[in-house]
């Protein structure tokens, strides 16, 4: 059977000592940045991207992927022990995780997040293995109109799910789209909106924007509020959840895995949203919803499983369509292009070693994380005790070096600082940064697809409505735009928004 042969090949690649080493480095760095508040996988990947240029693409992607799912493991530790999310996807884990720690149950909370993450991570890799190849085959039939509609849908889903004001989120998507168009026009070689700044003709780089919006601005916000970090001073004993814990968590873990995987596939879905949805679902179906927030293990097991499962799902649009589902995937997309591969439906066929090797390495990585993480929790706790005034100059320095070393261009440092300021103001005025980043990546692709479609149809916008696949996608997009106007849906969105703001 083809599938089996491919899987075996994948493991042969993933288990090569060199690749196991890179996987290990990836998951360790991932856990570290997950543990540290204010430093996320996107920043870590952009920092390490230049250093991967001299290893093989497969090893590089294995390591970069490891950073991503490793961060999801690490984020929970900070949420549970410090009540500060180490990672945006671990925000909801604070609610019950920290309460469990206060009740002296930090051990089981950490333990169940690790086991839940492992189970969910493994399940989602299985899903990725089975779903991605047939989806890629289907995607081969997509032309420019389908691609355009699909990317538009991705942006709309993200703004729909993001919570908060939808017009504001859409505005950020449009702004990101514009930023993505800055630079040389591919069809006519006209430099656009470069204002005579030379390096802008290559376009606005993703790394400076992301590190500015997520790295620098985060530090600025923390500096002005003076973060208090009280690591929970208690002996962490008994990491293993007991039988009752397992009974309580088994279903939340499974439900979280399914929710995470499918929300992860959606462009713009991702880990953050799936953890919120999982928490909401668990609370809704629990016989004792009032106990949520006081330290129930379901409130930890569900979301932590969901955010890990989402990482597997997020690879699907990247590997089958070449469309990144979130900022991390956008970084990986950039990496693939630098390594000379064209992400898209042909990727699995042309580079089976890359696809199957990476997928198999994710099994290896999840095992490594489970084996390593529980014993290493003591170390992470020590790192968490580094006071913020000492930590933040280091975070800033990492951002500076990371942005500079990508192209050895001091102008990009300026660009990052500019977006650091923009991101700070966006947070102040509550504008979402995620749609901006996704649109920035999709911008050039969307422009191409739109222009090609219009050329194909000789100027008729009807092309998006007459081709069946495109029509379906457009209809879904439209309904997502209209839905929030209906009263009962808008009420639901408010609730999710409030939950997000409580933190």
């Amino acid at each position: 059977m083809d599938f089996l042969a491919n899987a075996v090949m994948g493991f042969q690649i993933a288990l090569q000592p060199m690749n196991v080493f890179f996987c290990l480095v990836g998951v360790l760095i991932g856990t570290l940045v997950g543990v540290l508040p204010g430093l996320g996988p996107v920043a870590a990947i952009s920092l390490l991207l230049p250093s991967t240029f001299h290893v093989s693409p497969v090893s590089a992607i294995i390591m970069l992927a490891g950073i991503y799912y490793g961060a999801m493991y690490g984020g929970s530790t900070t949420s549970i022990l410090v009540n500060i999310p180490g990672e945006a996807a671990s925000v909801v884990t604070c609610l019950d995780g920290y309460q469990m720690a206060r009740k002296g149950r930090a051990g089981p909370a950490l333990g169940i997040s690790a086991f839940g993450s492992f189970i969910a991570g493994t399940l989602s890799i299985v899903g990725l293995m089975f779903l991605a190849p047939p989806l890629a085959e289907m995607a081969l039939q997509f032309g420019p109109p389908e691609y355009f509609s699909l990317m538009l849908l991705g942006l709309i889903i993200l703004t729909f799910l993001a919570g908060g004001s939808m017009p504001k989120a859409l505005m950020m998507a449009a702004f990101g789209l514009f930023l993505g168009l800055i630079g040389m026009d591919i069809m006519t070689a006209t430099p656009r909106f470069t204002f005579g700044i030379y390096f802008l003709s290559d376009g606005v780089g993703l790394v400076p924007v992301v590190m500015g919006l997520f790295g620098i601005s985060e530090v600025l916000l923390n500096v002005e509020t003076r973060l208090k970090q009280d690591v929970f001073e208690t002996r962490i004993k008994g990491l293993l959840p007991n039988l009752q814990d397992w009974k309580d968590s088994a279903w939340p873990i499974l439900r979280g895995s399914v929710i995470g995987f499918f929300l992860g596939i959606l462009p713009g879905g991702g880990a953050v949203i799936s953890s919120f949805v999982s928490y909401a679902v668990e609370k809704k179906i629990s016989p004792h919803p009032e106990k949520f927030g006081t330290g129930v293990i379901q409130g930890v097991a569900g979301p932590e499983s969901a955010n890990n499962s989402a990482t597997g799902g997020a690879f699907i649009p990247l590997l089958t369509l070449g469309i990144p589902a979130n900022a991390v995937m956008a970084m990986l997309l950039g990496a693939l292009i630098i390594y000379g591969m064209q992400p898209g439906p042909m990727l699995i066929r042309q580079h089976p070693d890359l696809f199957w090797g990476t997928v198999a390495s994710m099994y290896v990585g999840n095992v490594l994380l489970l084996v390593l993480n529980l014993p290493l929790i003591g170390l992470w706790v020590k790192i968490l005790k580094i006071p913020y005034p000492v930590l933040f100059p280091l975070i800033l320095l990492f951002c500076l070096i990371g942005v500079y070393s990508l192209n050895n261009n001091a102008g990009e440092i300026g660009l990052m600082l500019f977006f650091g300021g923009v991101g700070y103001l966006m947070k102040k005025f509550s504008y979402e940064a995620a749609p901006l980043v996704l649109a920035l990546v999709l911008g050039p692709m969307m422009e191409n697809a739109l222009r090609q479609s219009l050329i194909m149809s000789d100027g008729g916008a009807g092309i998006f409505f007459t081709r069946p696949i495109s029509l379906v996608i457009v209809l879904i997009s439209l309904s997502l735009l209209i839905l929030p106007l209906l009263p009962w849906v808008s009420k639901k969105r408010e609730v999710v928004k409030d939950m997000a703001e409580e933190e």
Binding site: P50, K168, A174, F175, D185, R192, V223, L396, I401
Partner: protein
């Protein structure tokens, strides 16, 4: 119109920004629908920004309150933000001439002392260790090409 909330203030900014983008895009050539020019999609994005900004502004009309701009900075130590930003901008400016080691030492030295002051000894040691440590990791080990500057090595 004297009563505005902060969503309206920010949406006015985006309204102007969107119109400016759309306006400049025309210069690059919109082309025809059957062969869109380089300014076509930027024009659409600018128009979208402006339209959405208008929607936000109108949505907020019934909710206009006496919310002040300064409400966003209540109980915040905002001068520190400016200090950090200033230090970073300065770093970007002198980075090439002074070189990585020296400018990094100065940046860390300043940040450790200016925001939540540590003792001089800790500040000094911290800055030296950070500059040398990051140099070893990034320049020697990861082979990033950081500028040498006036120290010249």
């Amino acid at each position: 119109m004297t009563m505005k909330n902060n969503d309206q203030r920010s949406s006015l900014f985006w309204l102007v920004a969107g119109l400016a983008i759309a306006f400049y895009s025309v210069k690059y050539g919109l082309g025809a629908l059957s062969s869109p020019g380089p300014g076509f999609v930027p024009f659409l994005s600018g128009l979208a920004i402006a339209t959405l900004a208008l929607v936000v502004f109108l949505q907020q009309l019934p909710r206009a309150s006496k919310e002040k701009l300064s409400d966003l900075w209540v109980q915040k130590d905002w001068p520190k933000v400016l200090v950090v930003m200033g230090a970073l901008v300065l770093y970007a400016v002198v980075f090439k001439t002074l070189g990585f080691l020296l400018s990094t030492f100065l940046l860390i030295f300043f940040l450790l002392r200016a925001i939540e002051p540590l003792s001089w000894k800790k500040v000094f040691l911290g800055a030296i260790c950070t500059a040398l440590g990051s140099y070893v990791v990034f320049q020697v080990w990861l082979a990033a090409q950081l500028p040498e500057g006036i120290l010249g090595f």
